[in-house]
């Protein structure tokens, strides 16, 4: 099967295989991505993030159903953490989206974080491009927003929806540091629970101190009962319009593309270091020297770089 040709023809299996190919870094994946890149850039990417148990999958399910009523083609990338001990993972987001699983206009893919350096962000980026070329108009990227790598993934999104639940209290404090900054739309899910208004007030207060140009709105929702869904779609659309009207859409994509290129360079260099036995040995030796204070880390870096053939 010529995967690229098939992908252009909206072939589900080709899209799935290409994602595996980039996720596994199988031979030829970069070549494939070169072609895919040129054809991509049409889909709108929505990040869905928030703490575990916030109901992200259920919310995604409902948002997607709403967009499907408008005939939009959708893809969902659901990311769950990989166990750092066994390298295995249980990816269970699909379970909340069972109704969508037979909808030909929806493609769902689960990914494990797999723990390689910066690799997840790259895989997600690539998967987005593949699904874009596959024909998705909206791509939802769902992650558990607790760690740095998840933040990296969300940077691929045009609009990021931060999902919270009432009564998080301390959790919000923890999430606030840095991560709150990435939300373009805030959703308080399970808003029929006690403390929803207080949580809303807390978030509003935090947003008072935010230096974002467009103040994010805070929406109440009960995703399970399909409440507040249309309003969230409206907010996503409003944010999209804002990005386009202020030319930020273009600006953001330039920024993230630059980052993408830088990441590729970093990956390339790291690859040169860690996949070269000679350099690896040198690194180990230099590390010892640095620890024993015979050499400083800057000099060590310079020495190492000199020996890398780019």
């Amino acid at each position: 099967m010529d995967l690229l040709q098939e992908l252009k023809k909206h072939n589900k299996r080709a899209a799935a295989k290409l994602i595996t190919m980039v996720e596994n870094r199988n031979p030829g994946y970069q070549e494939a991505l070169k072609d895919i890149h040129k054809l991509s850039g049409n889909a709108y990417v929505v990040g869905i993030t928030g703490p575990p148990g916030a109901g992200k999958s259920t919310l995604t399910d409902k948002l997607v159903k709403e967009l499907r009523k408008k005939g939009k083609q959708i893809a969902i990338i659901a990311v769950d953490p990989t166990s750092p001990f066994t390298g295995g993972s249980i990816l269970g987001d699909r379970i909340r989206m069972n109704d969508l699983s037979l909808d030909a206009g929806v493609f769902i893919r689960s990914m494990g974080t797999r723990g390689h350096l910066g690799g997840l962000s790259e895989s997600t980026k690539a998967a987005i491009k593949i699904l874009d070329v596959y024909g998705a108009e909206y791509i939802f990227v769902e992650t558990v927003g607790v760690g740095q790598s998840e933040v990296e993934i969300v940077k691929n999104a045009d609009t990021t929806v931060m999902v919270l639940v009432p009564g998080l209290g301390d959790d919000i404090q923890a999430i606030k540091a840095g991560i709150m900054e990435i939300g373009d739309v805030f959703v308080i899910n399970k808003a029929d629970r006690e403390g929803a208004n207080r949580t809303k007030a807390e978030i509003e207060m935090m947003l008072d101190f935010s230096n974002k140009e467009k103040r994010p709105s805070v929406q109440m929702a009960v995703a399970v009962d399909n409440k507040g869904i249309i309003e969230i779609i409206d907010e996503i659309e409003k944010h999209k319009e804002y990005l386009i009207d202020t030319n930020k859409f273009h600006h953001n994509r330039i920024e993230s593309t630059k980052e993408e290129i830088v990441e590729i360079i970093k990956g390339y260099i790291l690859d040169k270091i860690f996949n070269n036995q000679h350099i690896n040995e040198e690194l180990n030796q230099l590390t010892k020297d640095v620890v024993e204070r015979n050499v400083d880390p800057y000099t060590a870096g310079d020495l190492l770089l000199k020996n890398i053939k780019l």
Partner: protein, 558 residues
């Protein structure tokens, strides 16, 4: 209860004993480092009065038939009446199941227990796409009152007590039962039996849910209310630990999670305006019996004592009957092995002893071949005979609660009660059972226990005879019961026939009325009964309710 001086004497001789034992162990070490109960709890070499220092006869046990009911809910237990030997059965069509019920009654079974197929349990008619391949498989297929009439044909409903394993659509099947009785000329207030009607454990462990939590709880309290007036001898719920245990929980979790569910139902009913003593006497429970005989006996005793205390102290029940925990037991399906299936007869015997020594009100004994398929008639007979042998030959029924006063049994009873109570407290903190299920807490605890159990089997820390030790080469078992696929076709034809011949206009009418009732806050039971009587199908009735209430979303807890 124990004299302080005497206790300290015991303590010094115990220390002496332990020293001596230790010396002996150097020469002859024990077979295992830690001896564990069936639920994985460490068990000591010896139990003495020191393990039950707080034991107070009146407070801890009391007399059988009175608070806190530790020793049993009747005064003389099995000297008066034996437990009900109730064999869960049902498969294929209503005709086939009807034959099996008549056979069981002839063989001395004293109560019927209806197993429904999965489409029925999930509220789908046999012609629904999801019913494909499932019709009549794990129980009898019931699509409408017509099937129910056939199922109980020739069985006098004023004479038998019938237990129905039905949950999400329990109200519909109960209504059908009432309607069949009416046709036989038996009034609803004469009917005796039980519906399982326990949705929370479906979310936790068994999986045949339909509606979300809130409307489900409403349906349950509607049934409580309706039955307290119209079907007063009916047990309106069987709060089930059985499936929680099957899902892999420990004995203490079985008690803790089941009673926590019970608390949720009581609270929902009180919130709906019912008086505790109006419905609590009709609450019944359903537990599992596993192989660790002593732990299981202690479990049943602990459950009774803890429930009595909860009803008295937490809910301020006044009626003694509200405090007495009555329960049905089924032997543990997950303890059966597919290897050397005849060995299962022995397992079931041990479990029967546990249930009877634990004071059960009724018992289903599993058949030896149930790890392979639905049981054959021969296997069912052996399982029933097992109960009869225990009842008539073992002698354990001659006196009430014969294990009481054993240091170990009383210490185990205390342990399980305490552990169960700790789970209940934790669940209260999480906002009650419904919320704890929603958050996945209960499922996660059970899954941890189940996984640990599996690992112990694989590492042979736990021996299962015939499965991970003492294996033999076996031929595949012959003569298993099979339900052929034509059952589905037959049911489909019947549905077509039914829909042609009934008064479709009144069906529509009654369904519309039901819809209104669901949307409002009237008790839905009378409306379901009306719809059932004009032969609206189970699928049609539940579809109306699905439209109004929505469907439950499972959570992934692994």
């Amino acid at each position: 209860m124990f004299d302080k001086d005497k206790l300290s004497n015991i303590e010094s001789s115990l220390i002496e004993y332990e020293k001596e034992t230790e010396k002996l162990l150097e020469k002859r070490p024990e077979r295992k480092k830690v001896f564990k109960s069936g639920s994985g709890e460490p068990v000591k070499t010896l139990y003495t009065p020191l393990d039950i220092e707080e034991f107070d006869y009146s407070d801890s046990l009391g007399m059988p038939g009175s608070y806190p009911y530790t020793r049993g809910v009747q005064h003389n237990m099995y000297r008066g009446k034996l437990w009900t030997m109730r064999m869960y059965a049902g498969f294929a069509t209503a005709e086939e199941s009807n034959k099996r019920y008549k056979y069981l009654v002839e063989q001395g079974s004293s109560g019927l227990s209806v197993a429904f197929d999965l489409p029925t349990q999930i509220g789908y008619d046999s012609d629904h796409a999801l019913a494909e391949g499932e019709v009549g498989k794990v129980g009898v297929a019931i699509d409408s009152l017509k099937d129910m009439e056939t199922l109980f044909d020739g069985i006098p409903l004023d004479k038998v007590s019938t237990s129905m394993t039905i949950n999400a659509p329990a109200g519909v099947l109960l209504a059908m039962y009432i309607a069949v009785a009416e046709k036989q000329g038996v009034a609803a207030n004469q009917l005796r039996g039980t519906i399982q009607n326990d949705i929370l454990k479906e979310y936790i462990a068994r999986g045949t849910y339909i509606f979300p939590t809130e409307p489900s709880m409403r349906l349950i309290t509607d049934i409580f209310e309706y039955c307290s007036k119209d079907v007063p001898k009916w047990n309106t719920i069987s709060i089930s630990g059985y499936h929680i245990r099957e899902a892999g929980s420990t004995a203490a979790q079985e008690v803790g999670f089941t009673l926590a569910d019970g608390i949720a139902y009581v609270e929902a009913a009180i919130k709906a305006g019912l008086d505790i003593d109006d419905f609590a006497p009709r609450l019944s429970f359903f537990f599992n019996a596993h192989n660790d005989l002593l732990e299981e006996v202690a479990k049943f005793r602990a459950a009774r004592r803890l429930w009595a205390r909860i009803m008295k102290d937490r809910f301020h029940a006044k009626d003694q009957k509200s405090m007495a925990l009555k329960f049905h037991t089924q032997t543990g399906g997950s303890t059966l092995t597919a290897q050397q299936p005849d060995n299962n007869i022995i397992r079931v015997t041990i479990q029967t002893l546990a249930a009877v020594l634990g004071g059960t009100q009724s018992l289903h004994t599993n058949s030896r071949d149930e790890a392979l398929a639905l049981p054959t008639e021969d296997s069912v007979r052996i399982a029933l005979r097992t109960q009869q042998i225990v009842a008539h030959e073992s002698g354990i029924v001659n006196t009430v609660d014969p294990f009481a006063g054993s240091y170990f049994i009383e210490a185990e009873t205390d342990r399980i009660e305490n552990e169960a109570m700790a789970y209940i407290t934790k669940i209260d903190e999480l906002g009650g059972a419904a919320k704890a299920i929603d958050d996945g807490y209960i499922q996660h605890e059970i899954m941890d226990a189940a996984y640990k159990y599996q690992k112990e089997i694989e590492s042979k820390d736990r021996i299962v005879v015939g499965m991970n030790q003492f294996q033999v080469e076996e031929e595949s078992p012959k003569g298993l019961l099979r339900v052929d696929l034509s059952v589905g076709e037959k049911q489909k034809e019947r549905l077509v026939e039914l829909k042609k011949n009934r008064d479709n206009e009144s069906v529509q009418n009654k369904l519309d009325n039901l819809r209104n009732a669901c949307e409002g806050d009237a008790n839905v039971m009378p409306f379901i009964l009306e719809a059932v009587k004009v032969y609206a199908t189970l699928g049609e009735i539940t579809q109306v309710m699905r439209d109004v209430f929505g469907e439950y979303q499972q959570s992934v807890i692994i």
